[in-house]
């Protein structure tokens, strides 16, 4: 990691979010403190319902916090969203069935009002990035699940954001595809020096990908541990057998256990 640009991209202090539901209020996020620096690969890990998605959505201004402070690139999340500061990859591909693969990737660019040539060029570049050249004219429903998710990543990348938010992007995929995409994602992160925030509930995935792992626990959703990983930036899947890797995995597991997150 370069010590030169430890510029904070996201700063979160005492962040709280309470959902008002029909019967009882749900305290989804409780006193979250977190800083994400430029070039970090941060994973949120925790059992389902601990608020990972909600935290990510607050960063993306898809959800308004009920207390605390948050800034993205030194702005409010809303300003950051208006400036199209991030790309968001949802758990499902959410591709539009009436648009071809290429047109799907061009969607945000059309909304931003880029020129036609620029849209085409970016679509081609990012399709290549996810190894899907030659699929431009296909419709999403003609592709496999893994390919669809890669298209949705290419769509997020086409905005050319410095910040990439990914909510369990590979959750629905089989492990083999998943490993493969993990490696590609890591390479992309290494070469483009983007900041990535990644939600997962797989310990190996979190440890393999991240430079920083945020362990969370539910009811109320809070941060238990933040683990800095010192694994090299250019790792391969083999790293999963090394003692360093196993040690970090162990620490994550301990953190999850101490959060009593598995007692029900």
């Amino acid at each position: 990691m370069s010590d030169v640009d430890l510029k904070p991209v996201i700063e979160i202090e005492k962040l709280n979010l309470v959902f008002q539901t029909a019967d009882t209020p749900v305290h989804a996020l409780s006193d979250i403190d977190l800083t994400v620096n430029a070039g970090d690969f941060v994973s949120f890990i925790g059992p389902s319902g601990c608020g990972k998605t909600t935290l990510m959505r607050v960063i993306a201004d898809l959800e308004k916090p009920t207390g605390g402070h948050i800034s993205v690139n030194g702005m409010t999340p809303e300003e950051a969203r208006q400036k199209r500061a991030y790309g968001y990859v949802f758990q499902a591909p959410a591709l539009y069935p009436w648009r071809t693969v290429e047109k799907n990737i061009m969607l945000p660019l059309e909304i931003m009002g880029l020129s036609r040539e620029e849209q085409k060029a970016r679509a081609a570049r990012n399709l290549a990035m996810v190894n899907l050249e030659g699929f431009e004219k296909k419709f999403p429903w003609q592709l496999s699940g893994g390919m669809q998710q890669r298209v949705s990543i290419a769509r997020a990348l086409s905005v050319e954001p410095d910040l990439l938010l990914m909510d369990e992007p590979f959750g629905a995929l089989d492990e083999i595809t998943r490993d493969h995409l993990n490696e590609q994602l890591l390479k992309l992160w290494d070469t483009t020096k983007k900041t990535v925030i990644f939600v997962t509930h797989s310990i190996p995935e979190a440890v393999f990908l991240s430079s920083k792992i945020v362990v969370m626990s539910p009811r109320p959703g809070k941060v238990i541990d933040i683990i800095e990983s010192n694994l090299p930036r250019d790792r391969t899947l083999d790293i999963r057998e090394t003692p360093e890797f196993l040690e970090i995995s162990h620490r994550v597991r301990e953190g999850l256990r101490s959060g009593h997150s598995y007692d029900d």
């Binding site: 959505r57 993306a60 201004d61 898809l62 969203r81 208006q82 400036k83 199209r84 991030y86 790309g87 968001y88 949802f90 758990q91 499902a92 959410a94 539009y96 069935p97 009436w98 969607l107 945000p108 059309e110 909304i111 931003m112 419709f139 429903w141 003609q142 905005v159």
Partner: protein, 375 residues
């Protein structure tokens, strides 16, 4: 499948065989047999031969299906020829009618073979219902002529065709008045208004909550009953018909468009939000495409409602032209063939109208789960 299929053909051959020994009609008080009419008899033999060939070969190829269809067509000409030359009403023609029943079995079997071959073949997929339709028309023709049904009761397709030919200018004037003037304008205006109001209402949640529960009530109302009122308000000409159609088509479009605009998932909306897309961009790029299947549903429902509305409204008063007017006056004058000619025009126009909409739907909502085929 194969076993029961053979049974149908065997039954056909058996029935045809029996019919050969029965009289096919009466001519000048003399009973007529199959062999008195060599052409018809030869046609019968061809159809039986086709069935026998299929019974032995047991093939299910397109080729076999076409061969059997040719057998059907050949066989079908036999009763057509007979009903023209002999008196075929009653027991005197029992052989003829028995053969017609047998022919029904043969047609069924050949349609079954054709529809099995039709998978993935557009031409055959079109041919199956077309042949079925022709078969129905054919039955109509043979039965009306054979039994000598008076044309004031039910004219034969041939007579209806002649009526269409002899009255083209009247029929065209009626078509122009009813379809071009009333239906098209009313349909366009009603659907357009329903669509625009839906977009407006969708922007105001309060109106939406107020209107949606009423929508289901409105759908229970026989709106066509406003026809007499509209005729009083807007006069006898096409404007009153268009007004009925506007009211009839407005609500299905409103309700369907509203439902369609709701059909967008949360995740899709969040995606647009993450791009900081404006309301109109979200509408154009996401919500309208999603609503298209619903909108086409309304357009198709409305196409049939519009025709009903126009003709009912003409019942309450028209200038002396229009399809509804033509039907009610010609019924009174016992010109039943012209009535049927008008019905035929209405049916063709209605089917074309619907068909064009269905084609457009296919083109525009090709991506919808009900149409798409992977790869």
């Amino acid at each position: 499948m194969k076993k029961s299929a053979d049974l149908v053909l065997i039954l056909f051959v058996l029935l045809s065989g029996i019919s050969v020994f029965l009289p096919v009609g009466v001519d000048a008080d003399m009973s007529v047999q199959w062999w008195d009419k060599p052409t018809a008899f030869a046609l019968l033999v061809i159809s039986v031969a086709a069935a026998l060939y299929q019974l032995i070969s047991r093939e299910t190829t397109t080729y076999a299906a076409l061969l059997l269809t040719i057998g059907c067509i050949a066989g079908a000409f036999a009763p057509l020829i007979l009903t023209r030359t002999v008196d075929a009403s009653g027991y005197g023609a029992i052989g003829l009618w028995l053969f017609l029943v047998a022919l029904g079995l043969l047609v069924w079997r050949s349609l079954a073979l054709l529809s099995r071959a039709a998978n993935g073949n557009h031409l055959l997929a079109f041919a199956v219902p077309a042949l079925f339709g022709i078969w129905l028309l054919y039955l109509w023709q043979v039965v009306t002529i054979g039994f000598g049904i008076p044309s004031v009761l039910l004219p034969s397709p041939e007579q209806i065709g002649a009526a269409i030919e002899n009255n083209t200018s009247t029929l065209f004037a009626d078509f122009y008045q009813t379809v071009v003037k009333s239906v098209l304008s009313g349909f366009a205006f009603g659907c357009g208004a329903g669509f625009l109001v839906a977009i407006l209402v969708d922007r105001v949640p309060f109106m939406q909550r107020g209107l949606l529960p009423l929508g289901s009530l409105v759908s229970a109302i026989p709106i066509v009953g406003i026809a007499p009122i509209m005729v009083m308000w807007f006069g006898f000409d096409w404007q009153s018909k268009a007004a009925v159609i506007v009211v009839m088509t407005f609500f299905p479009m409103l309700i369907n468009t509203l439902a369609g605009l709701q059909a967008t998932s949360h995740i899709e909306k969040d995606l647009m939000r993450s791009y900081a897309a404006s309301y109109w961009q979200t509408l154009l790029f996401l919500r309208l495409p999603n609503a298209m299947p619903f909108i086409f549903n309304a357009l198709k429902i409305n196409s049939t409602l519009a025709m009903i509305g126009a003709i009912v409204a003409e019942f309450f008063g028209t200038p002396i032209v229009g399809m509804g007017f033509r039907i009610s006056t010609e019924v009174g004058r016992m010109n039943v063939d012209i009535v049927w000619a008008t019905i035929a025009v209405a049916a063709v126009v209605g089917s074309l109208f619907y068909g064009i909409l269905a084609l457009m739907e296919r083109r525009i909502t090709f991506w919808h789960a009900s149409y798409r085929r992977a790869k």
